[in-house]
């Protein structure tokens, strides 16, 4: 047997993929290799993918510059989407308002004051029609950040595609649809954990069968980190949630090689530069090992962890907000050096309000500077082999493995059951609250410096120019909703909602087809959530301070 070195194996893969996106020279004209390392070491695109999921990395394809946006009514956000596409953004990412995220209609008393404030308001299919008006859904990829009502919004997107003549098989994008971290961190839950995971899995089954370009779950550490966790906790809780969805999908009869390659991840890029890079590298390695060893994946793509990154909202300061531009650039660079597949850069004014158009443009331009000026995209995993980064990668992996062992024990050999128990007993919530308090203590006693907040303060700060969402959007959205309610066939709505309840009550039935019928009949998100809630019940957390 002739032995092929890992370098030769990598070269074969590298040559098989187009790789002329980024120039392979320094600005002074020195040639640079696509990757560096010993011939028998691990290369990008090689198991366990510590150095990246693809052989060519950014030489083959730059990351997707995906800017999260949404405010006011669907008409307002549609205009912002068109501006982002015009400015060179390459994917859409929808931010929904709180009532939508909580499955609450805009005319519900609980929605008062929140409609269109922190994202776009979506009550019915009519809003999704306006949101994507004039945008070719077959030509963009769309990310939708929503969880408890994710299946309903997915159904709406498919329905809009049908109206545009874009079949669901051509729809590309990502649905966040990661309910477990809601109980742990972001707290936008509606139903109890078990029926919620069933909904997640119904979407996974639907997409696996019918939407080959869609990522049905984006397993998200972002919010866990924002809620105050450490980097190791973000890594471990996120991957554990991923294992939990894998176990749920396998239990419903799906094969890990089939759905595994459609799972994607979403991590935070915080300000501790090397720790973040090590975190992404450790994540890829752990996922590959667990998917292969524990869950029996054999398809490489089911073992390759691909992820989206967003810079850390919590790292932004309301004081001297322009300084945030520097923070975001550093965090984004960590994401790129860590091999992210897509990136959202926060706008510098986000500690004050939703971003202005100008601030959002600077954030996008920051990515473009990294991609096209700095030269960092030319070499895959440029920090691989650094004593420090390798040691930190190993250390984070070990910390995460200790947490998996704890959850495995809690669940008596099932990570899914361990995660359920950890949620029910408030274990995750307590760990995150403790980490957050420890961090706050360090800020307070000055052991951690936050520029402009506990050091280098300015006393006289001018007012920042911020995006102001007035009460008009809320009034306008209520008007839009009452128009739809007046126009639709009320008897048809009753019928489709009854079908939703009927299907929800049968765990072996996929609820997606009845959700599609419900949204096509212009049932509201609140009506559909209410119908599901009649079957599933609702969840209240035991507060842990």
């Amino acid at each position: 047997m002739t032995s092929v070195t890992r370098r030769e194996d990598w070269e074969r893969q590298y040559r098989a993929t187009p790789s002329d996106v980024v120039e392979g020279t320094t600005m002074s004209g020195l040639e640079v290799e696509p990757v560096y390392g010993p011939d028998d070491g691990e290369f990008p695109g090689q198991w366990p993918y510590t150095r990246g999921p693809y052989a060519s990395m950014y030489r083959g394809r730059l990351w997707t510059m995906r800017m999260f946006a949404g405010f006011g009514t669907a008409v307002d956000t549609n205009a912002r989407f068109k501006e982002l596409l015009r400015a060179g953004g390459t994917g859409l990412s929808v931010a929904f308002d709180l009532p939508t995220l909580m499955g609450t209609d805009s005319d519900d008393p609980m929605a008062l004051g929140e409609v269109g404030k922190a994202g776009v308001a979506v009550d019915t299919l009519a809003d999704m029609e306006s949101l994507f008006d004039g945008i070719d859904l077959g030509a963009v990829s769309t990310s939708m950040t929503i969880n408890s009502p994710a299946a309903i919004v997915m159904a709406m997107y498919v329905a809009v595609g049908e109206e545009h003549g874009t079949p669901r098989s051509r729809l590309a994008g990502t649905l966040q649809n990661d309910i477990l971290k809601e109980y742990q961190a972001q707290k936008e839950f509606i139903f109890p954990p078990r029926p919620s995971v069933r909904l997640v899995n119904d979407v996974v089954r639907f997409c696996t069968a019918e939407m080959p370009l869609w990522h049905p779950v984006s397993i998200s550490g972002y919010h866990i980190r924002e809620a105050g966790s450490t980097a190791a906790q973000e890594l471990a809780f996120t991957l554990a949630n991923g294992f939990a969805y894998v176990e749920a999908a396998r239990a419903s009869g799906l094969h890990v090689d089939v759905f595994g390659k459609r799972l994607s991840f979403f991590f935070n890029a915080h300000i501790d530069f090397f720790e973040e890079i090590a975190k992404y590298r450790a994540a890829r390695r752990i996922w590959a090992r667990w998917m292969g060893d524990r869950y029996g994946a054999t398809d490489d793509r089911a073992m390759q962890l691909r992820f989206h990154t967003q810079t850390a909202g919590v790292s932004l300061t309301a004081q001297q907000p322009e300084v945030n531009i520097a923070r975001v650039a550093i965090e984004a660079l960590a994401g790129v050096l860590g091999g992210t597949q897509s990136l959202h850069t926060d706008s510098f004014d986000e500690a004050l309000a939703l971003p202005t158009e100008k601030a959002a443009r600077i954030a996008l331009r920051t990515q473009q500077v990294i991609a096209h000026e700095t030269g960092v995209a030319a070499v895959a995993d440029p920090l691989g082999g650094s004593y420090f980064v390798e040691a930190l990668t190993d250390r984070l992996e070990a910390e995460a493995e200790a947490i998996f062992a704890h959850l495995d024990e809690l669940g008596r050999g099932s990570i899914l059951e361990g995660v359920y128990r950890g949620i029910e007993e408030g274990w995750f919530q307590g760990e995150i609250a403790q980490a957050s308090a420890d961090f706050e203590r360090k800020l307070n006693d000055g052991r951690r410096v936050l520029v402009g907040v506990n050091r280098f303060e300015e006393t006289d700060e001018p007012d920042a120019d911020i995006l102001y969402i007035g009460p008009e959007a809320e009034a306008e959205q209520r008007r839009r909703l009452s128009d739809v309610k007046a126009r639709r066939d009320a008897a048809a709505v009753e019928r489709v909602l009854a079908k939703v309840r009927q299907d929800a009550a049968r765990p072996e039935v996929n609820v997606m087809p009845s959700l599609l019928d419900a949204v096509r009949a212009y049932a509201t998100i609140g009506e559909i959530v209410g119908s599901l809630g009649q079957v599933f019940g609702t969840w209240t957390e035991r507060a842990v301070v």
């Binding site: 709180l98 009532p99 995220l101 909580m102 609450t104 609980m110 929605a111 008062l112 004051g113 929140e114 404030k117 922190a118 809601e182 972001q186 707290k187 936008e188 924002e226 809620a227 105050g228 919590v314 300061t317 309301a318 004081q319 500690a351 004050l352 309000a353 939703l354 609250a433 957050s436 308090a437 706050e440 307070n444 936050l450 907040v453 506990n454 007012d463 920042a464 911020i466 102001y468 969402i469 009460p471 957390e541 507060a543 301070v545």
Partner: protein
């Protein structure tokens, strides 16, 4: 500190916003500084907050808001408190734009605390709120043991 009145504070979220990192940090800060802290939890309405404030006989209500709904929700909480005859000062913390801060203060909110406030600033603001006229009845009656 013996003999100083113990200030009872209800810290809570209001409305749909689930961002609870800040409110938990503030709850711990106040507890560590010797306040009696009642954490109201998520998804509270103006009515449930007023009910808890009454039941728990609190001296200050602290609302944590990060979703932009403060101009509607904070006054709604004050109204609900007033309807129950409670003159409890309301402190708002969270992402509050400068122009809204003035609006909230003009509407009767006692203090507005922004992200990045130190433990000292938080504690001072809540103490100052508790000292407002009409706010002392509760605190005066209790002594720290």
């Amino acid at each position: 500190m013996t003999g100083a009145p113990v200030i009872r504070v209800l810290v809570t979220k209001v409305g749909l916003d689930g961002h609870d990192r800040g409110v938990k940090v503030v709850a711990r800060m106040l507890r560590d500084a010797g306040f009696e802290v009642i954490y109201g939890g998520l998804r509270q309405t103006p009515q449930t907050i007023a009910e808890t404030a009454l039941q728990e006989d609190v001296d200050v209500v602290g609302l944590s808001m990060h979703s932009g709904g403060h101009l509607t929700l904070a006054p709604a909480v004050m109204e609900a408190l007033a309807r129950r005859g409670l003159e409890v000062p309301v402190v708002v913390g969270g992402i509050i734009p400068e122009r809204d801060r003035d609006t909230l203060l003009a509407a009767g909110v006692a203090e507005v605390i922004n992200p990045g406030a130190s433990e000292d600033q938080v504690v001072t603001a809540v103490r100052r709120a508790a000292r407002r006229p009409g706010a002392e009845a509760g605190a005066r009656g209790r002594e720290r043991s």
